[in-house]
């Protein structure tokens, strides 16, 4: 019999937008509201400033399965996770969790900058739900996994961001809940460590643990989850096999535009070090950017504001994905060596990445734009699936495809140099 680990029915969450805009209410406002309360209509209906972050979400998860939750920004993923991990209550509906629950909504939950790595292992472990005896028992393993060696008794504020992430994940990795909720935490840390974490997570799934995993990373979702839930504007759109949910996700949403612009720095993605202003797809020679001939070079143009770069060197990274969520390649503006070594001043920066013609395969290409710094590795501005375009091959004979009109596999379609010559006119075995 399949034991049910999680069952949710009709979960909904309403936020009052006014509350979100001004989270620190003023006492005077509240007193005024209290005074005028009897004069106002007292109905249960929705107010204009109500916002449903989640509506009528129902699902069941059998014990031991790993389920991914995907969706655009604002689709309700985080809200769902916050309800499931008991941080906030649903406005409507009900859910049951059968088993010890653990949640991992950030790396290094409860870390205190002033305390040492050793202290923080205990503190974070306890906050995440471990008993003291349990932490003591696993202490050496945690230290080994985090690989922080001689810095164990150094205050965490002196750690590099990479070390903090490793330590935070190490503590979390040794939690032993029967149900685990994980949010996007793998989006941080270096690739090597991400791999280690993903490995650890696979182990978790195999250990009979139920895992709910929220992520933007389609490759990670595809690799780890056998089932996925796609949320859109607070509702469940797909609840089924991962590849299907991923396909629907990639087909939908804002990943269709070839040009993005943020006119108001206050709402643009980013921080003081880097804030995105625009991301554009510009085909060589101009013209429409939604559909681009495979033979034409393409520029991806990213503009960002930087207010206070300090000693940091913001750098633009572009991640290219195809329709199946496969990462085609990643590129970085350090290819411009002159810029890379120049010192950075506040202002507007434009970075243009030139993609040669006859390089991408046909089909939709989705570009994620990130501005980050190294040492320490910090993501300052990130827009998932900022722009997209479709590469078309008209098979007019001068491309890689030539006049061949059938399916032509491959995630890229570079036009490479070949040298072919007649070596002799003799055929083996004959003279």
């Amino acid at each position: 019999m399949d034991e049910i680990a999680i069952s949710a029915s009709g979960l909904a969450k309403k936020y009052r937008i006014g509350l979100r805009r001004d989270p620190y209410g003023r006492l005077s406002e509240s007193l005024w509201n209290a005074l005028t309360y009897p004069l106002r209509r007292r109905t249960g209906e929705d107010r204009e400033d109500d916002f449903w972050a989640l509506r009528d979400v129902s699902f069941e998860v059998p014990r031991g399965s790993v389920v991914g939750v995907i969706g655009r920004n604002g689709a309700g993923k985080s809200t769902l996770l916050k309800i499931m991990s008991r941080i906030t209550e649903p406005t409507l509906g009900r859910a049951e969790l059968h088993g010890r629950v653990g949640s991992l909504l950030e790396v290094g939950t409860g870390f205190h900058q002033e305390l040492t790595g050793r202290d923080n292992i205990f503190l974070s472990g306890a906050i995440l739900g471990m008993k003291r005896a349990e932490i003591l028992r696993k202490f050496d393993e945690i230290v080994a996994f985090a690989d922080i060696g001689q810095f164990l008794d150094t205050p965490v504020k002196r750690y590099s961001s990479g070390m903090k992430v490793r330590l935070g994940f190490a503590v979390a990795a040794f939690l032993e809940p029967e149900i685990l909720f994980i949010d996007e935490v793998l989006a941080v840390g270096d690739a090597e460590f991400q791999k280690k974490c993903l490995g650890k997570m696979s182990e978790i799934g195999e250990g009979g643990r139920t895992v709910i995993f929220v992520s933007h990373s389609m490759p990670a979702i595809l690799r780890l989850c056998d089932r996925a839930i796609l949320l859109d504007r607070g509702r469940v759109v797909v609840d089924g096999p991962t590849h299907e949910a991923v396909r629907r996700y990639l087909e939908s949403g804002p990943g269709r535009t070839s040009s993005r612009e943020w006119t108001d720095p206050a709402t643009a993605p980013g921080d003081d070090v880097a804030r995105l202003r625009s991301v554009r797809v510009v085909p060589d020679g101009g013209g429409p950017a939604e559909e681009i001939d495979i033979r034409r070079p393409i520029d991806i143009e990213v503009e960002y504001w930087t207010e206070a770069p300090g000693d940091l060197r913001p750098s633009v990274n572009l991640h290219f994905y195809n329709d199946e969520g496969v990462c085609l390649f990643i590129n970085n503006d350090w290819m411009d060596r002159r810029w890379w070594s120049a010192s950075r001043r506040p202002g507007l920066v434009r970075a243009v990445c030139h993609i040669p013609g006859n390089f991408l395969a046909e089909g939709r290409v989705i570009v994620t734009s990130v501005v980050s710094t190294y040492n320490p590795t910090i993501v300052h501005a990130s827009e998932q699936e900022a722009v997209a375009f479709v590469v078309v091959d008209r098979s007019e004979g001068d491309g890689v495809r030539g006049v061949y009109a059938n399916e032509f596999p491959g995630v890229v379609r570079p036009m490479l140099d070949w040298d072919v010559e007649q070596v002799s006119e003799a055929v083996a075995g004959r003279s």
Partner: protein
């Protein structure tokens, strides 16, 4: 069904004997959930340990502040108010008198301030992980108990200096300390919950603490207040605590009436605050 907001083992379908957590909206008043606090006592200990460690680490004088604070206030009040006739009781050196009041007062005022700010300071974890929110103000108060014990040492030195020998009444000290803790917990959890939504608390608090000190017999003797006013005077729980503390340590007539009224007031304040806290607790993560 018994499955409220606490972790409870579902015995009805006990085939697996697993814990079942039910998530659903709550409206109105809830029970206090003290069982859950008890179940999380280890985490409470870790929060206290963290507060102490950070506090003593970040300050140059560390634990010495626990002593310096009341001692400096004692010097200030002795040099000013203490020179006025009739402020202290007859036959008791004013510095000793005021210090015996300042020691419990400092426990209360530091605990109250710490508890009131505990949720706002703990915003990062409140929005990232579940645990009974009451642990934060409780831990804050708990961490100041160590400071209090240290300052008791200083009080012993001051008593020794003035040759004051405590009577058997000293056995009441733990109960009176508990009363101060209950009061700090009561007012602190209430203000902590209000602080989540209205940061005005931050500005009101220093003022409140100051006014409250003069509403309690810390720097003057409670006998200055006419006996017919004592019931109202003692509605401030710190009146009974401070007057009782002084009686337990340096003697004088036992302020029975004050202690009794104050004890009742303290318990009522704590109960009321806990009920209020539990009612608004579910919105903390959304509005903090």
């Amino acid at each position: 069904m018994l499955l409220g907001e606490n972790h409870k083992t579902e015995s009805a379908s006990g085939a697996w004997g697993r814990q079942v957590v039910v998530l659903e909206p709550h409206h109105g008043w809830r029970e206090l959930g003290l069982g859950e606090i008890w179940a999380h006592r280890e985490l409470l200990y870790f929060f206290i340990w963290r507060d102490l460690k950070v506090r003593y680490k970040q300050t140059a004088f560390g634990a010495a502040w626990a002593v310096l604070q009341p001692v400096l206030l004692m010097l200030v009040f002795s040099a000013s108010l203490g020179r006025l006739p009739g402020v202290g009781p007859v036959g008791l050196p004013y510095p000793l008198f005021v210090f015996a009041g300042l020691v419990p007062w400092t426990l209360f005022s530091s605990s109250l301030t710490g508890a009131s700010n505990s949720l706002v300071v703990g915003e990062a974890i409140i929005t990232k992980v579940y645990f009974p929110r009451l642990l934060l103000p409780f831990a804050s108060v708990g961490s100041f108990l160590l400071d209090f014990v240290i300052s008791l040492g200083a009080l012993a030195v001051v008593m020794l200096y003035f040759g004051a020998v405590p009577s058997l009444a000293i056995v009441w000290l733990p109960a009176l300390t508990l009363m101060a803790v209950v009061t700090a917990l009561g007012v602190g959890t209430f203000l902590a919950a209000v602080n989540v939504r209205y940061r005005d608390v931050k500005y009101v608090l220093p003022f409140l603490v100051q006014v409250w000190m003069f509403a309690s017999p810390v720097v003057y003797t409670s006998t200055l207040i006419p006996a017919e006013w004592h019931v109202i005077y003692a509605l401030n729980p710190m009146t009974g605590v401070v007057a009782g503390f002084r009686w337990a340590l340096v003697g004088g007539p036992r302020p029975d009436d004050l202690i009794f009224v104050s004890a009742v007031a303290a318990v009522l304040v704590l109960l009321g605050s806990l009920v209020y806290f539990r009612r608004v607790e579910r919105t903390f993560a959304d509005v903090i």
